[in-house]
């Protein structure tokens, strides 16, 4: 049986092999070769794609290089979603590498948030951490941290430093023993075909009788269609970090070990493969 700490490492170091191709309507001075990169599942696109921008800038005139944005099969990719979530949601049952188109013009303002600098990513990241802590501890842990502690969480993510990040993040994963878990579990459930971006509700990790709630309990409450029926036909896959955790897994354990660095469980509901 893997040690729980190994799970934390496996989640942090997950990578997705990706092929970046310049979109055909971008104006280049000579042919642009595709660029290959291993993307960290737990990070954000603008944080890890400087090399992509530099690669394509080499064959373009500076005037033609606007804000970079990414698209997969016609869908603009929301940079404020973690990379692993985007992959699980849109491309998890396709062959690798993940093929993404790169754009430098016609920024889709109705669909995507702007990302003019890394401090915007930092603000988003810290905002998620704050919200997660509001759910878990009424914000008590984040408020007790100093500004340098907040910085350490961000720098740990930005520089891919597992130990630096978790030295601080472990405080956000603590809870009073007598409670048996967090106040509420920070989670969001995503489904591509839905007309709303995600489902987020208040959900306690422990029932009033003291029994720990499971992933199955969460789904029953918030997305009952994802629970396989008795006839055995599985309509959906419930995916976190590219795996389908067993529905019997305690949700408190999932929150402590399979959350993204922003402290949220980002869960994808995707159609089960029909083969």
């Amino acid at each position: 049986m893997a040690d729980d700490k190994d799970v934390l490492r496996d989640v942090w170091f997950g990578r997705i092999p990706t092929c970046f191709t310049l979109y055909q309507d971008e104006i280049t001075e000579r042919e642009a070769e595709p660029f290959y990169l291993l993307l960290p599942r737990v990070s954000y696109l603008p944080l890890v794609t400087d090399k992509v921008r530099k690669h394509f800038q080499k064959v373009m005139k500076p005037d033609d290089v606007g804000e970079m944005w990414f698209e997969y099969e016609g869908t603009p990719l929301k940079w404020h979603y973690p990379i692993g979530l985007l992959f699980d949601l849109y491309a998890s049952n396709t062959t690798l590498p993940w093929s993404i188109f790169v754009h430098f013009k016609n920024f889709p303002q109705q669909d995507l948030l702007h990302c003019p600098s890394n401090s915007v990513i930092e603000a988003h990241f810290m905002s998620s951490i704050k919200e997660a802590d509001a759910l878990k501890h009424k914000g008590a842990v984040v408020n007790e941290m100093q500004k340098k502690d907040h910085k350490q969480l961000w720098m740990g993510l930005q520089n891919d430093k597992f130990d630096q990040f978790w030295a601080m993040n472990r405080k956000l994963m603590e809870y009073p023993t007598e409670e048996g878990g967090f106040r509420y579990i920070p989670f969001r459930i995503y489904q591509v075909t839905s007309n709303r971006p995600f489902i987020q509700k208040l959900f306690r990790p422990v029932a009033s009788d003291g029994c720990p709630h499971t992933l199955g309990d969460l789904l029953k409450e918030v997305f009952p269609a994802a629970i396989p029926q008795n006839d055995g036909q599985k309509k959906y896959q419930v995916m976190i970090h590219g795996i389908e955790p067993m529905l019997e897994t305690p949700i408190q354990w999932l929150s402590e070990h399979l959350s993204y660095p922003d402290n949220f469980l980002h869960i994808s509901i995707i159609p089960a493969p029909s083969d």
Binding site: L113, V120, K130
Partner: protein, 200 residues
């Protein structure tokens, strides 16, 4: 009292999810859009804050300013409830009449100077661009985590004076003006009449 707020329900009928929406036409300043649609960097936005400290214009500069500030802007305000913070949150966006969304820089231009300085210096009170949780589109949001700091004195005062309080109206009257949303006094006179019964 004529009310121009609309209730919008998202999701299936009978769902508790939804938000209040109000659209306002106002006057303000918008830039000629840059050709590639890209936006300015954060340094430029901070520079705007510094500009407001240089003092108000006077004399003949008012006429030129008036022309500059005559563009028609369509503001959309949504009040949502954050279950994470257990507080209302104000989402808003603005567009030119041709539908072009205003940039963060243009939004800052249209925030009253006295609020602009305060908002820029306090990171947790600041305006950021966020995804609307029901519509999935980019909106600007006033960060909700300091709401309790300014609402609790208001709640306490109302309690001490045995005055009925409409939380949403009071909250909106504080945050709304920061982002150009006017709250008519009539909202307040309807919402918080003094109670004649004794305090509990």
């Amino acid at each position: 009292m004529r009310c121009t707020w609309m209730r919008k329900v998202s999701g299936s009928a009978g769902s508790a999810d939804g938000y209040m929406k109000k659209t306002v036409l106002g006057r303000g300043k918008i830039n000629t859009p840059s050709l590639d649609g890209s936006c300015k960097s954060e340094e430029d936005v901070c520079a705007l804050g510094k500009e407001t400290q240089e003092g108000a214009p006077d004399g003949s500069e008012w006429e030129a300013l008036d022309a500059e500030w005559s563009a028609a802007i369509r503001y959309e305000y949504h009040v949502l409830y954050s279950s994470s913070y257990q507080t209302p949150v104000l989402y808003f966006r603005a567009s030119a009449l041709d539908g072009r969304p205003l940039s963060l820089e243009e939004m800052w231009d249209n925030v009253h100077p006295s609020y602009r300085r305060r908002l820029l210096h306090s990171p947790w009170d600041t305006i950021t661009q966020q995804e609307h949780p029901c519509l999935g589109q980019p909106f600007f949001v006033l960060h909700p985590c300091r709401t309790w700091d300014f609402m609790s004195p208001i709640l306490e005062a109302a309690q001490n004076e045995c005055r009925k309080l409409n939380y949403i109206v009071s909250w909106l009257s504080v945050v709304g003006p920061m982002v150009g949303l006017e709250i008519p006094l009539s909202y307040a006179t309807v919402a918080s009449k003094p109670e004649r019964t004794a305090a509990r």
